[in-house]
Every structure is written in C-alpha cells, then in structure tokens.
C-alpha cells in the first residue's frame, strides 16, 4: 500500500485540520474557543465540526453554563488514531520528496 493512501481526505482542509490539532492537545474545546483560534465564522465552523462528528472522529457535548448553552468538543479514540495516521503519512511523504 502506498503512503498516499494514508492521507485522510477528511483532514485535507485547513479548518478541519485545525479543529483536530486543537483537540489533540486539549481535553476539550468549546465552540467559541475553536472559532477564535481558527478564525472561522459560525456557519463555517459548524459545518466542519458536523463532518468530523459524522465520521465519529469527535464527540459533541451540549450543556448549559448558567443559562448560556455551551457546545464542547473532544476527540474520540477513532479520531485520534486517524489523525495520527494522517500526520505520519504527511511526514513520510515530505521525507520521501526531500
């Protein structure tokens, strides 16, 4: 199998790549934190988190902090494994082309 097969199409987008990067090193992140870090609009971010949620790479928890609704995200085991594989593939390709 060639390494190019390990490149995950789902991570081939700046926002989705960013979401996963943030969640890999944080226990969880809420919607606003992701929005600020990635500089995305509400709708844009929502559609990308939905895509990752659908693939079961991230978990979504909705809760209330006081009276404000708060949505927070965290990675799933599947998501972590997929992202690691993706990074390994990126590194392997870069090494090969050097």
């Amino acid at each position: 199998m060639s390494i190019i097969n390990n490149i995950n199409k789902l991570f081939d987008h700046r926002i989705r790549l960013g979401i996963m990067s943030v969640l890999m090193v944080n226990e969880y992140a809420d919607f606003n934190m992701l929005k600020e870090l990635l500089g995305a609009t509400d709708g844009n971010l929502a559609s990308h988190t939905k895509a990752l949620e659908k693939a079961e790479y991230i978990k979504v928890e909705k809760q209330f902090i006081g009276r404000k609704p708060n949505t927070r995200y965290s990675t799933t085991k599947l998501g972590r494994a997929a992202f690691k594989k993706h990074i390994d593939a990126l590194e392997a390709i870069i090494k090969k082309q050097k």
Binding site: S21, L90, K98
Partner: protein, 202 residues
C-alpha cells in the same frame, strides 16, 4: 499533490497545537526586573542584618520582621511587573491575556508555589527557619517546571536550576542566603535577558 502543501499542513498542525495549549506571551523583561528587585531586597536585608543584628538573624525582633516584609515586597512587585509587562506583550501579539491557556498556566504555576509558601510559613511559625531559603528555591523551581508544559518550554530549565540550588541550600543551610541571591536574583536576570533576546525582539 505538492509536498509544499503537506509541509504547510504540518506547520499548521504544530502552530494550532501550540497556540491552543500554551500561553507564550511571557515577557523576558519582567524576569530581568524580578531579578533586580530580588537583588535590591537582598542587599537591604543583608545590610540590616549586618548592622543591627550582628550578622545573625533571630526569629523575634524587628530585623526579622523587616526582612519578611522585604521578601513580600519583592514577590509583590515581581508579580505586579510580570502581569503588567505580560499584558502589554499579549496585546502586541494580538492574543488574549485571560483565556484557557493563561488560566491553565497560572493554575499549574500556583499550586506548587502556594503549597510551598504555606509550608514555609508553617515551619517559620515553628521556629525552623534555617531551611527556608532552600525551600523557596525548590518550590519555585517545581512551579516553573510544572508551568513550562503550558508556556514557553524553556522555563523548565530555569526551574531545574532553582531546584538544584535549593537542594544545595538544604544540604548547606549556611549558604541559603547566597543561593537565594543567585537563584532569585542573578538567574532571573540571566534568564530574562536570554528570553528577551530569543523571543521579544521581533
């Protein structure tokens, strides 16, 4: 696909991981000033002890109380300067001063430091003050090592140096004062200068 895109992806991943988990707007200048305050404080305390207490510090009396007061002033001024300069730098960097990264940094820094501070106050109240210089260095060093995971990784080395100085101080309590001067004064200045030139000047 081109490798250039992949390289960009990798650097984007690294950038996001750092930005979301580390607070890096610490100011090197505040380290230098903290060291200067420590040296001034130590000089005043030293001259007091030499001229009014015959070179020996006893737990009762105004000289000891003044030394404690100087110590608190040094800590207070250092914290104030640190907050002021770090806020200024964060503004310049365009990052928020009080977000999840700085909250985590402060919390992880304060836990070992507060425990150490309370422990030192307790043993001081029991009349055992010989170890306090070394203990301050040890707990401060542990706080730095702990905090380095949430900030510029380099501060862990300052932490290790403080811990080693503190252990030497525990072993040779007679040098406690001079080790304190070396750790809190000189090392802060050296380290702050290094950080200033490495991170601040661009």
């Amino acid at each position: 696909m081109k490798s250039k895109d992949y390289l960009k992806d990798i650097s984007e991943i690294k950038n996001m991981m750092n930005k979301s988990s580390r607070f890096i707007s610490l100011s090197g200048l505040s380290g230098i000033l903290a060291g200067v305050y420590a040296l001034i404080g130590a000089a005043i305390a030293y001259s007091l002890v030499i001229s009014y207490s015959y070179g020996r510090l006893t737990l009762d009396g105004w000289v000891f109380e003044t030394c404690l007061f100087i110590l608190f002033m040094v800590a207070f001024l250092s914290i104030l300067t640190g907050i002021f300069l770090t806020t200024r730098k964060a503004k310049k960097d365009g990052s928020k001063i009080w977000d999840s990264t700085s909250r985590r940094l402060v919390f992880n820094f304060l836990v070992p430091l507060a425990v150490g501070g309370l422990y030192i106050l307790i043993i001081l109240s029991q009349g055992k003050y010989g170890q306090s210089g070394g203990l301050m260095l040890i707990f401060y060093g542990l706080a730095l090592v702990n905090a380095s995971k949430y900030s510029i990784g380099d501060i862990q080395y300052l932490g290790y140096i403080q811990i080693i100085l503190g252990l030497i101080g525990a072993w040779k309590p007679g040098y406690g004062f001079w080790l304190w001067v070396l750790g809190f004064g000189i090392m802060h200045i050296v380290y702050g200068t290094w950080m200033h030139f490495k991170y601040d000047r661009n």
